[in-house]
Symmetry: C2
Subunit: 158 residues, 2 copies
């Protein structure tokens, strides 16, 4: 018990999204070096290299080596969702006891737990699949998302 949490965005995922946002921001000034991103977003350089590599393997970014090389987004920033990034570097968005909800089976009074986890997942997807890198980079989050942040209670802790 302590500061561990259940919906946890890992350092990897957070860094990956921020790096992707940085790429979205400098979309037409040639490839961006890992080092540049690392400095701009205060991310450990070598750690970031590995993350960018995962994103390349996942088809999210393309890379070029050598002097004046670097990374750029493989698709338009409007066409890459936050969920795409997180899934690429960290795997599935939602799991229960290590497996994805559809593989679960409950009995007795717990039977309705499965639909609950499904609803939870659908809800998370709605947000993370529905927001693109461009939305965040240009500070133009969808109104449904902005609406959720209106309630001051959303900003307080528990």
């Amino acid at each position: 018990m302590g500061d561990n949490a259940r919906m946890r965005i890992s350092a990897r995922a957070d860094y990956a999204v921020r790096a992707a946002l940085q790429l979205a921001a400098c979309t037409d000034s040639g490839p961006v070096k890992a080092e540049t991103i690392a400095v701009a977003q205060e991310i450990p350089h070598k750690f970031l290299e590995g993350i960018l590599n995962d994103m390349r393997r996942g088809g999210l970014v393309t890379s070029q080596r050598g002097g004046n090389g670097g990374y750029r987004l493989a698709r338009a920033a409007t066409d890459i969702s936050i969920a795409d990034v997180i899934r690429t570097v960290d795997g599935p968005l939602v799991s229960v006891r290590g497996v994805r909800p559809p593989e679960l089976s409950y009995s007795g009074p717990a039977e309705s737990l499965l639909p609950l986890w499904i609803a939870l997942r659908a809800n998370v997807r709605q947000i993370l699949d529905g927001v693109s890198l461009a939305d965040v980079a240009t500070a133009g989050l969808p109104t449904e998302v902005m609406d959720l942040t209106e309630d001051p209670a959303a900003w307080t802790n528990p």
Copy 2:
């Protein structure tokens, strides 16, 4: 990479909720033994004992020792949310890189990430705070939650 996921309901949390549901189901037949719950829900007995203890410390259940002892809910099943249970055994629902969203600060094109995480958290809370043990135990999930499970896409993997 692999089967790790970002919104992960741990075994602890899953077991805790199921145990609480079992208690909600036998609310007026006297205290329920850990062993009984363990068998009914196929949860490792000694592991469950620890979880029930955490729930007692968290004020969710009361206990009685000795022959004919066991556990019962401390409040009405309508008055305990799924979020209450998860938070009691696992800590805060949502965190980014180990800290809760309000403590974060982003710069440059990542500035709108904070409102995004806040919206995500609000959305998760909406579900988990809004569903009580009684809702699940009686298979009477709120209609907003049921609506989310209507779309067949909610049941498919990615």
